[in-house]
């Protein structure tokens, strides 16, 4: 079975993606690994694909998305990196692969994913729910169950499909929705690429909702998963082999959630420490923190989220400004300044 596995990221997440690819290569040396990058390399940094553990890069431009930069401008970094998953997955169905799998860049494997391929002999789509069993405390219900009601039942840090049948039909549908509606707009019932997939069990046949606690462990489900590291060398979650971990929110916020929900399950912290060591190993100091090439106008002024939303709401603006990233006379940026919606960059610098 030919497997293509991809992740979607910007350069500020290159360290995490490298860790993922490192663990994927370790457990699945024969898979085709693809880096889907919605970014441009920061000044002074050149991506040497030959030195990376993935096989190839697909840039956002390579997806041929209608509207190009105007489409991209409508999205913030999270929206953009999740939106491109749809078109890539859809296009990858014609790549010759039998199975296409997506993993978030902040996931990492600790055991091979072979059982998933067995599932894909029978099913066409595999999803992992955020939670596999009800929470037991009031705080955990709010933190985890209510949160999943807002952001989606299934965690789209992982999805695997067959490139034919229902898998291909799902990829086309997801592609269409993400091109049009991949926004973080919870009041409107949208949460990027994820909330859409609440529809999947109803819309598609041959869907496997994977209820194995060894997959997609994260701070939001650790309260109900006991992690053990045995003297046989295996790591298990509720007795199942640990396949992959989702290291959401690397840093103080993630640490607080892990502390709160891992309790005395110190093995969880051992796994986090391992991940942090790998991140340190794969970090490239030349990439500025929070860097994203599409975070600014051409002159370097940061793009405000509200101005992205305005642009996506108003067809007249999209019609008038085909390249909204441009600076200078006649640009969207100049229009915003003229309307008093944006302070000129120099003035902002003076104040």
């Amino acid at each position: 079975m030919k497997v293509l596995c991809f992740t979607s990221f910007t350069f500020s997440y290159l360290d995490r993606a490298r860790v993922l690819f490192h663990t994927l290569r370790q457990h699945h040396p024969d898979w085709e690994l693809v880096a889907l990058i919605t970014d441009r390399p920061p000044p002074g940094f050149e991506l040497d694909v030959a030195a990376e553990q993935f096989d190839r890069v697909v840039w956002v431009e390579d997806l041929g998305i209608e509207g190009g930069s105007a489409w991209l401008f409508k999205h913030d970094v999270v929206e953009a990196c999740t939106a491109v998953k749809g078109p890539f997955l859809h296009q990858a169905c014609a790549s010759g692969a039998d199975v296409v799998m997506y993993l978030d860049p902040d996931t990492a494997l600790l055991n091979p994913l072979h059982p998933l391929l067995e599932e894909l002999q029978i099913h066409d789509i595999v999803l992992t729910p955020h939670l596999l069993e009800p929470e037991e405390t009031h705080a955990a219900v709010l933190d985890n169950e209510v949160s999943a009601l807002r952001t989606g039942i299934y965690n789209l840090g992982f999805v695997a499909i067959r490139t034919t049948g229902e898998g291909a039909r799902f990829a086309k549908w997801w592609n269409d929705r993400l091109l049009a509606f991949c926004y973080d707009d919870i009041p409107q019932g949208l949460f990027v690429d994820q909330r859409w997939c609440d529809h999947v069990p109803a819309f598609f046949e041959k869907v496997k909702i994977l209820r194995d606690p060894g997959y997609n462990i994260a701070s939001w489900n650790i309260s109900r998963r006991k992690v053990t590291i045995g003297q046989d060398g295996q790591i298990r979650a509720n007795g199942s082999l640990l396949r992959f971990w989702h290291f959401t929110k690397l840093g103080p916020v993630g640490d607080i959630m892990t502390r709160r929900y891992a309790g005395t399950n110190f093995e969880v912290h051992e796994i986090w420490n391992w991940y942090k060591r790998l991140i340190a190993r794969f970090t490239d100091g030349r990439i500025p923190a929070r860097y994203w090439a599409y975070a600014t106008y051409a002159d370097g002024q940061p793009i405000q989220k509200g101005h992205r939303e305005l642009y996506r709401a108003r067809g007249d603006l999209r019609e008038a400004f085909k390249d909204p990233f441009a600076s200078g006379a006649g640009s969207y940026q100049a229009w915003l300044i003229g309307e008093g919606l944006l302070e000129p960059q120099n003035a902002a610098a003076v104040t």
Binding site: R259, W274, R277
Partner: protein, 524 residues
């Protein structure tokens, strides 16, 4: 008593406040002369000063963020309402979390030690040749190899080496000891100029490069009945030691399993410093997440090559150590034997129970270190300190003042053969908690505890200790720290009181280590 004084006495917050503790920790309050309770209630709690030994303001606020947000006196809140609501005093994530949180990686520690002990200059070769000449014309020569100069430090391995050297020298053998000139946490393969310290019949003969030693010791070993025993390669460059031994014509030797540094860079097999790993396959997920993984591969490869170069007889001080070693070391040794460092000899007939009734005397023996299970003991003490059934002790060299256990300083001295056993006997200790988190290959402490008349309570991962406890029949093996707590909660542990089980006292009869085999071989 006035009405005001009466209400103050009844004030539950004041009742829980420990003025002596507060003053002992706040010299400025002593100096100011202000009533400590008034100080705490007015300023102290806002400044994070703790009101008694058991209540930490920082921990209470950490686990109860709503109290932190409310800005009320956390101690008063706990005493008046929090306690009744069942609020936790602290977020108890276990001592393992504390170790993992502060994880100073092995690599960082290795580099720090290397920086503290940079490559030095070798000593003049003349000193070595002169010392060798003075060693006399013995026809027999024994070389021992360990992680340090055993005559300069005190510990289990050092005592073993002392006995080995003494026995061989008494039998007329010359004795050379090789140790790394710079201390290490792991085997060395990175130093540009590793030097080896040399002792000849207990006298220092300087520090030298392996090539120099090969050049000088090669001819020195010529014509002599030559044996060698490796006690530890930690700190050594194994390739260098191999060069020296090969030049001396070595073909076979003894390897002592004092620890598991031949199997992993963590000599005690403590994965990430927190849990006994069981030496799983190096490519297993457990090893993958362990910070010793990379160096483990180096330890295995370097030791493996040594075992392929020389026909090694592996000597382990216990069955438990040998079994674990044999299943985790990749190269089959030429031979493997169990040879205990000591055995118990009955000292006097069981005494008639003449112990005054009183609490069960429970003790932790030795270094209050995490891998020795000190945090587990500390928690036990915290939980049962007020229980009249128990009296908690700590016998050792270093005191941990944070734990409410009666401390007795034990200083190793040449005058007392087993100072720990003597103290256990003198203090009438009923139970010694020996809670090593990792496998003890022998554990003199357990032997001394029993020699002094105490029962041993241990866990299944403590290597030879649970085996020894089963063999002696004096003590218990508790499945885990929860089960340990249950023994105390239920009172089942009280059956281990000397008065109930009867007292048996022993002395230790020590082996002569490798000398027992070498001299036996010579005699036959």
């Amino acid at each position: 008593m006035t009405a005001q004084a009466d209400s103050e006495t009844m004030d539950p917050v004041r009742a829980e406040f420990d003025a002596a503790f507060y003053l002992a920790n706040n010299q400025d309050v002593v100096d100011s002369g202000i009533d400590p309770f008034e100080h705490f209630m007015t300023w102290g709690w806002r400044e994070g000063r703790d009101p008694n030994r058991r209540f930490s303001i920082a921990s209470y606020l950490d686990v109860n963020p709503d109290i932190a947000a409310a800005g009320v006196n956390p101690f008063a809140h706990y005493v008046v309402t929090g306690q009744g609501e069942g609020r936790a005093l602290k977020l108890d994530l276990g001592f393992q979390y504390e170790i993992l949180k502060s994880a100073n990686t092995l690599e960082a520690r290795v580099q720090a030690l290397r920086a503290a002990f940079p490559d030095g200059e070798p000593s003049p070769i003349e000193g070595l040749t002169r010392t060798l000449k003075r060693a006399g014309a013995s026809t027999r020569l024994h070389v021992s190899i360990s992680h340090d100069n055993f005559t300069a430090n005190l510990g289990g391995v050092q005592l073993c080496l002392t006995r080995e050297a003494k026995a061989l020298r008494a039998a007329g053998s010359a004795h050379i000891h090789l140790y790394p000139a710079a201390p290490g946490l792991v085997i060395d393969f990175e130093r540009e100029r590793p030097l080896i310290g040399v002792l000849v019949n207990g006298k220092s003969a300087g520090v030298h490069a392996a090539e120099t030693l090969a050049e000088v010791l090669g001819p020195f070993a010529d014509g002599k009945a030559f044996t060698f025993a490796v006690h530890s390669f930690i700190g050594h460059n194994i390739v260098g030691v191999t060069t020296v031994l090969s030049a001396m014509g070595a073909r076979e030797g003894y390897y002592w399993v004092h620890d598991f540094s031949s199997v992993c860079a963590h000599y005690a097999l403590l994965r990430n410093d927190v849990a006994f790993c069981g030496a799983p396959p190096p490519d297993s997920p457990a090893c993958e997440v362990c910070l010793y993984a990379r160096r483990r591969r180096i330890h295995l490869a370097e030791h493996g090559r040594f075992f392929q170069t020389f026909a090694m007889t592996v000597l382990a001080p216990s069955e438990a150590a040998l079994e674990l070693w044999l299943r985790s070391f990749p190269v089959k040794p030429a031979a493997a034997k169990v040879h205990p460092h000591a055995v118990l000899r009955k000292r006097r007939a069981p005494a008639v129970a003449e112990h005054a009734p009183g609490p069960l005397r429970v003790a932790f023996l030795g270094m209050p270190a995490e891998h020795k299970g000190w945090p587990v003991y500390a928690k036990l003490v915290e939980r049962f300190a007020d229980d009249p059934r128990y009296e908690f002790h700590h016998l050792g060299k270093i005191r941990d003042k944070a734990v409410e256990a009666r401390f007795t300083a034990i200083e190793p001295t040449p005058d007392v053969a087993e100072p720990m056993a003597a103290a256990v006997e003198a203090l009438d200790i009923d139970v010694a908690i020996i809670w090593s988190l990792c496998p003890e290959t022998f554990c003199f402490t357990a032997y001394e505890a029993v020699a002094g008349g105490a029962a041993v309570v241990t866990n299944p991962d403590a290597g030879n200790v649970p085996r020894f406890t089963a063999e002696t029949g004096v003590g218990k093996v508790a499945k885990d720290d929860h089960a340990l707590g249950e023994l105390f909660e239920s009172g089942e542990i009280l059956t281990l009181a000397r008065a109930i089980r009867g007292e048996r006292l022993y002395s230790l009869a020590y082996s002569r280590m490798s000398a027992d085999f070498i001299l036996e071989k010579t005699a036959s």
